[in-house]
Symmetry: C2
Subunit: 236 residues, 2 copies
């Protein structure tokens, strides 16, 4: 019998924000795959769940490089997928751990598609998205009553950001660090800069919260950052 493939959302970083079901499956599967970005760098995802896994000998690190080089990316993906498929063919169940929620900006979805297409049984366990943890930490509701909420990847300069900022109520701008001055300018153009809160490394020891994003405009912003913007709420 072929093994089953699990995608396991492990939440934003706090080991306590892993679900009971994720812990169960981590201990039930034969193999746990933990991604790392570089050989020897270690896996952030594994660090989060290590206290929840009884038998660490079943953990395999796989390298998913952080690069814009499509060929290098593709090569490592194919290799990782082949290793997973080999495990599944030999009857072993495999759990792939992924930060946050597997259905929100996760590269897991590409693995899932390929493995489903090969006819294997799969199951995805949702996880806490980083923006939920950030909102709880700040005590700022993401959305109330009849308000809408737009999750926008700020690392890309897409055409429709202006339209969304003009018509939406509340916003999460994910990964604004790539060109933070541009993001702040965009918010200013929409009169929303004073509604924005910047949170970096939420839940980590060196977490930072900044209410004056204009003052941060030309500072170095951590990659693990997001902006929460509520039209009906200002910092003043």
């Amino acid at each position: 019998m072929k093994g089953k493939f699990y995608g396991i959302g492990i939440g934003p970083g706090d080991p306590g924000l892993v679900t009971v079901k994720a812990v169960e499956i981590l201990n039930k599967v034969d193999i746990v795959i933990a991604p790392e970005t570089k050989h020897g760098k270690g896996s952030t995802a594994f660090q989060i769940v290590q206290g929840h896994i009884q038998d660490h000998s079943k953990v395999r690190l796989q390298i998913f490089p952080m690069t814009y080089d499509r060929d290098a990316l593709e090569k490592s993906w194919i290799q990782n997928r082949m290793e997973i498929v080999d495990f599944l063919h030999s009857g072993k169940s495999v759990g792939f751990i992924t930060l946050g929620d597997p259905m929100i900006y996760s590269t897991y979805i590409y693995l899932l598609r390929d493995i489903q297409n090969q006819g294997f049984e799969t199951e995805t366990i949702p996880g806490i998205p980083s923006f939920c943890a950030a909102a709880s930490k700040l005590g700022i509701p993401l959305t109330e009553g009849d308000e809408n909420l737009c999750i926008i990847p700020a690392a890309y300069d897409s055409d429709n950001i202006d339209q969304l900022l003009a018509s939406g109520d509340n916003f999460v701008l994910m990964k604004p660090s790539k060109d933070f001055p541009h993001v702040v300018d965009t918010l200013e153009r929409h009169d929303l800069a004073e509604n924005a809160v910047l949170i970096s490394k939420c839940g980590h020891e060196d977490e930072k919260i900044e209410y004056d994003v204009k003052k941060q405009r030309d500072e170095k912003i951590d990659y693990l950052s997001m902006l929460i913007v509520k039209r009906g709420r200002t910092n003043q």
Copy 2:
């Protein structure tokens, strides 16, 4: 010493999707408040976590009526808040359980504000939003790469739904049951009806998934429903 107030997100319904931290706090606090909509109706939230709470004698049900009558609502809220504040004043810690994530369409936020304003220490534990669980169940990613995601409360006919549907990439339409024909018509006007999947009672035994929303247009839709709509993905 005054007690601490915890808001505890317990996720969409599956007891397995409660976090490790939520379980810890449920067992650490002196009092657990579980909302019910009517006296004797029981608390859905309590049903989800009951297996995680060792001492059920600390659970108190509070009635939060589902009504559009603002006076009746206000009266029950004040009464509930006063009871919580009394516990906190007497040094008891209180955990308030809330479905999904506490910062997404939750009435907990009003309690939190009032209790914070009275100077009590508070902490909010995020939970899995219902739309994350639905997306995992369907195997449909909510957002990939440079796509954005708009969470829209479909029970309200706000002005900006059309603008969002015109400019966003992916959508979750929450609670579309109030006027489902209108919601389907709106999607059709934006050429998105064939991109929509309707999921009702996700994770419950009588869960339903419908890929042809036009066929469902005039059917009775369960209150616990949502539509997931991806511009780049059709059912055909």
